[in-house]
């Protein structure tokens, strides 16, 4: 028998840091795909999560549990909701894997790679300024051109390594890490 999606860790809510990273990774998907928001809603329906996220507003409300957001909702997400968001993220990362790979590949020409990163960083910064609370130190650090570069690369690397069905367990385990 092929190894099925291994049993998930015990159902418990994502910690605060995990929620932050999950939303930031979803934001990275939107930075790579201009229609990323629409794609997320479409993916949610295609994967059978319409009962959890019947429309874009419900999806947006779940993402607002990220403490870094301007419109931050207190509370915790249910584990089945975070599982659904992680599965959507893995599927989107799988769909955009060529773009993730192009950002990470050392075989690309340096100028081309730099240009790709500039486009990605600009788009990500624009989305962060629109949606995140700029007074949070985590947001400021991520927006910093130099200090945030390594962190942005780690987000893209995490997406590439968590893309696809096989990446769900890895990504979820990482988001459940106890501390940042």
């Amino acid at each position: 028998m092929a190894q099925e999606s291994s049993p998930s860790p015990p159902s418990r809510p994502l910690p605060r840091r995990g929620l932050e990273r999950l939303d930031l990774m979803l934001l990275c998907m939107e930075a790579l795909d201009f229609n990323g928001g629409e794609a997320m809603v479409w993916m949610s329906g295609k994967m059978g999560f319409t009962n959890l996220f019947p429309n874009r507003v419900e999806l947006w409300k779940r993402r607002c549990y990220n403490p870094l957001r301007r419109a931050y909702r207190r509370g915790e997400l249910e584990s089945h909701e975070t599982d659904a968001l992680i599965r959507i993220l893995c599927e989107m990362a799988d769909r955009l894997y060529p773009m993730l790979r192009a950002l990470l590949s050392a075989a690309e020409k340096v100028e081309m790679r730099q240009r790709r990163w500039e486009l990605f960083d600009d788009r990500l910064a624009q989305l962060m300024r629109e949606r995140m609370n700029p007074r949070r130190s985590g947001v400021r650090q991520l927006l910093d051109p130099e200090l945030g570069a390594a962190q942005r690369r780690r987000l893209v690397q995490g997406l590439a390594l968590g893309a696809g069905v096989g990446g769900f367990d890895r990504l979820k385990a990482s988001l459940m890490d106890p501390v940042s």
Binding site: L100, Q157, A160, V165, A173, D177
Partner: protein
């Protein structure tokens, strides 16, 4: 009856050959017994081996990838394992393969992030393939322990807060000790002076000049 599973990514291709295990009733398109596998890289030597080598490769690479997602870079598969992977220079990843053939030096392959992601994807495709009806022992990803996450923070950053706090405490305590004691109030000085008078011998004179009544002018001292 021999089946071949093939998984392609940008930089590598994984092929697994095998046979169905008819003793347990597997279908003809299933693989229950792996006879050989090959991993072809662009511009690198092709890897091949037996089932245990494939298990060792998955057992090292997949946990390494999981830890990388959490920002933790460390070696996996050390010791007598045929496959070892760990962080290399310049952010690359070093994959070392030790052959079971005698007198064969270990093969070292440097992978960048994209090539590592390709390798992880082909291994995932293999283990998630329903045609592969064979248990492959891969560790289940679990949340890391706080100790493992602490190691990814540089030592000087970890020590900055406790050292800074201890230094602030020492400085504050030193400043408090160096402060001169407050001068005693006039009313509270009398009991201490009478006690000091009583402790002196009868022949000794008080060093304090006697004052005249209430005028405050010093009176002439008696000569012994």
């Amino acid at each position: 009856m021999k089946q071949t599973l093939r998984y392609d990514q940008y930089s590598c291709q994984l092929m697994v050959e095998g046979l169905p295990d008819v003793s347990v009733g597997q279908s003809s398109n299933a693989i229950g017994i792996i006879t050989a596998w090959r991993l072809a890289w662009v511009g690198r030597p092709e890897l091949e081996g037996r089932r245990e080598h494939l298990c060792a490769l998955m057992g090292a690479v997949l946990p390494y990838a999981r830890h990388l997602i959490s920002g933790v870079s460390r070696n996996f598969g050390e010791g007598d394992q045929p496959v070892t992977i760990g962080p290399g220079e310049g952010g690359d990843h070093r994959l070392e393969l030790r052959s079971s053939q005698p007198d064969t030096p270990p093969l070292q392959i440097c992978l960048d992030d994209a090539e590592l992601a390709d390798l992880v994807r082909v291994l995932d495709q293999l283990r998630m393939d329903p045609r592969l009806q064979l248990g492959l022992p891969v560790p289940i990803p679990e949340p890391l322990r706080p100790r493992e996450l602490l190691d990814r923070i540089p030592l000087h950053r970890r020590l900055a807060a406790p050292v800074g706090g201890a230094a602030a405490l020492v400085i504050a305590a030193s400043l408090a000790v160096l402060q001169p004691p407050p001068a005693p109030a006039p009313g509270s000085a009398a009991p201490s002076s009478s006690s000091s008078e009583a402790s002196r011998s009868p022949g000794q004179k008080s060093a304090r000049p006697a004052t005249d009544g209430g005028t405050g002018t010093p009176a002439t001292t008696e000569k012994p």
